[in-house]
Symmetry: C2
Subunit: 187 residues, 2 copies
DNA sequence: GTTGCAGGTGAACCAGAGTTCACCTATACT
DNA sequence: AGTATAGGTGAACTCTGGTTCACCTGCAAC
């Protein structure tokens, strides 16, 4: 019954577009387009998929986005519908300029007091002038590192977020390759 | 010239499907479908979009996913092409069961030693039995909190990641609402 | 029962998707 | 000059997409 839904979603994930009527007939076993037409209308009512102004089938937001609830302290709402303030795609939340955005896996513990641990992924953006206080990916005196970007007067330096490490005052060259825009950790 | 690309990408983001030939004619100002046909083939060669087996236009992976480079310590590759090990969608990376996944904004500092700060978003999954050591969203004695899930013998308790807070030994009830699967932070 | 109705088939319809062919430029190259 | 060549128009074609209509079930409600 609602098995059809899963097959359509699978098709979307596999092919990166919604199936057409003929393809849904194959997915479901229906022999008439009208059966598909009615099925789609039910799915639209159920909020599973949507149609745009030309009637074309498009994925509903709930296929890509996940519900954003309130604060942790407020707890988990007993009825999710009640407190659902928003729905969000993590990609859209974190990424502004896809062209210049990359990810790097974190090695080492030099930023641990900033909540960036080994194994985390950082989302970085190239071609940005770093502001003081930004976390940057920098090449300094031949080595690469991730640190806070600081200024003392007009002298720039790099500060780790770990008392065991020392500030880095570049002697020869300081090449800021990218600015850290976000952090992602998976358990 | 390559302005057409951006208009097509904008259309995709706005309508959540790729435009058809007629729509691309409106986007670009072309007056013949063949001009679109040639444009699309160029974009396919350039890796901007793809066609599937039926010739239908689908977004290429690079529209949703971002390149995954190496480790931070290894630095930023001079040529991105060289070291691009993979490309990944953050949504797919973090979310396993979309049906039961939600996001919560973090308040308070009780998990700061685990690298979870106030203002971070946690990705949580409902309906999972927590394993010892998992970070959980729990209702204990009337209040909601996020803590490590621990066991001492067969007695369960909650442990914060902040020395300023004390372990919580539930007296009346301990209701695990969700297990934390990931953390996202945006700067 | 028989009445209603959700849910299926089958056929018709038009607009659009994707492709191909012939042809028409401008521009660059020797 | 002439001649490739990239990039556009215009028209033809087939197949599918989305919609609508008429009709045929089986099953539940009264």
């Amino acid at each position: 019954m609602e098995n059809y839904k899963d097959r359509i979603i699978s098709f979307y994930k596999k092919h990166r577009r919604m199936p057409g009527y003929k393809e849904i007939m194959n997915l479901t076993g229906f022999k008439s387009k009208n059966a598909v037409f009615k099925l789609i209308n039910h799915l639209v009512d159920a909020g599973i998929v949507s149609k745009d102004s030309q009637g074309k089938i498009i994925p509903s937001r709930s296929l890509d986005e996940i519900p954003m609830l309130g604060l942790v302290e407020a707890g988990f709402p007993s009825s999710v519908e009640e407190e659902m303030t928003d729905t969000i795609s993590i990609d859209n939340y974190l990424i502004e300029n896809k062209e210049s955005t990359y990810m790097l896996e974190v090695k080492g513990e030099s930023m641990i007091d900033a909540g960036i641990h080994e194994g985390d992924l950082v989302i970085v953006e190239r071609n940005r002038n770093p502001k003081v206080g930004d976390i940057v990916i920098a090449e300094v005196d031949g080595g690469w590192t991730m640190k806070y970007f600081r200024k003392d007067g007009d002298k720039v330096y790099l500060e780790p977020a770990n008392k065991k490490f020392k500030n880095i005052y570049p002697e020869h060259e300081l090449n800021i390759a990218a600015v850290v825009k976000g952090v992602v950790r998976k358990y």
